[in-house]
């Protein structure tokens, strides 16, 4: 499992995941994912799932933990372009009701850019 980080648009970070997010894959990337995502307050993060071929329940838990941690620091996570099996895991667990999913990078970035960057 691979993980890469990019800055895209203003104040929006793009985290790309690639591979099978099973027990082994999740264990491989979770430390770097959370270390990166949970560093800043008001972080705006797109997690690109387009190349995630498989999402086990443990991987789902990792994504939920990450999204929760970011929101607790007043930030926001969205998911990008999950494959059908991954999209079904997100839907049937109810997580897709709580974390926005976008099909296009531009739309995801625009959504995040419109959010307030800091509390008044």
């Amino acid at each position: 499992m691979e993980i890469t980080f990019e800055q895209t648009h203003d104040n929006v970070q793009l985290i790309r995941l690639n591979g099978r997010m099973d027990i082994e894959g999740t264990d491989h990337i979770e430390g770097r994912l959370t270390a990166h995502a949970l560093t800043l307050d008001y972080a705006r993060i797109i997690i690109d799932l387009a190349k995630v071929t498989y999402l086990a329940s443990i991987g789902l838990g990792c994504l939920v933990r990450t999204a929760q941690g970011v929101e607790r620091r007043k930030g926001k996570v969205v998911f990008l372009s999950p494959q059908p099996l991954v999209a079904k895991v997100l839907a049937e667990s109810g997580v897709s009701q709580r974390v926005r999913i976008f099909d296009a990078l531009e739309a995801a970035a625009e959504f995040l850019e419109r959010l307030p960057q800091e509390e008044d």
Binding site: D22, I23, E24, Y54, A56, S57, I58, L60, G61, C62, V64, R65, A67, Q68, E71, R72, P84, L85, K88, V89, E92, S93, G94, V95, Q97, R98, V99
Partner: protein, 161 residues
Amino acid sequence: MAKPARTDGASDDSSHPARGTSRTHTAQVRRGVYGSLAGATAWFVTSAAALEVPQSIADELDFCLNELLANIVDHAFDDDEVHDVRVDLTRDAESVFLTLEDDGRAFDPIAGDTYIEPATLDLAGHRGYGVHLVRRFTDELLYRRDGGRNSVTVVKRLVID
């Protein structure tokens, strides 16, 4: 005439209710150790292709296999011995059947789905999705406890009524 099932090989298993072409694998499982999942996955991918299981159905069965096997690793055993978990993949013209048999403590995945969809992201759990998702990925889920063994069968229909 039915031939006996071979570990990691193909067999015609007439004892299975579906009575079709099948493949069998034995995963050697120890409490808390997930190494058996990779071998089971590799076997499943090869077997599903050999049995010409449609990819979308194979993907969901792969998910069910991994979640059920992980559940066995996590919860089935009170000791640290190695236990054999038998996995059968069978298909006929209408359905595909994935069966896991283990000698762990009784566990009926059909009884009482306690999963509640989170009302907010903050309330979403980090664990406990597996069996719930297996239920949602199956067309039918069968369970039998016999002779101190659990037998769980995931059924996926190939033909839509």
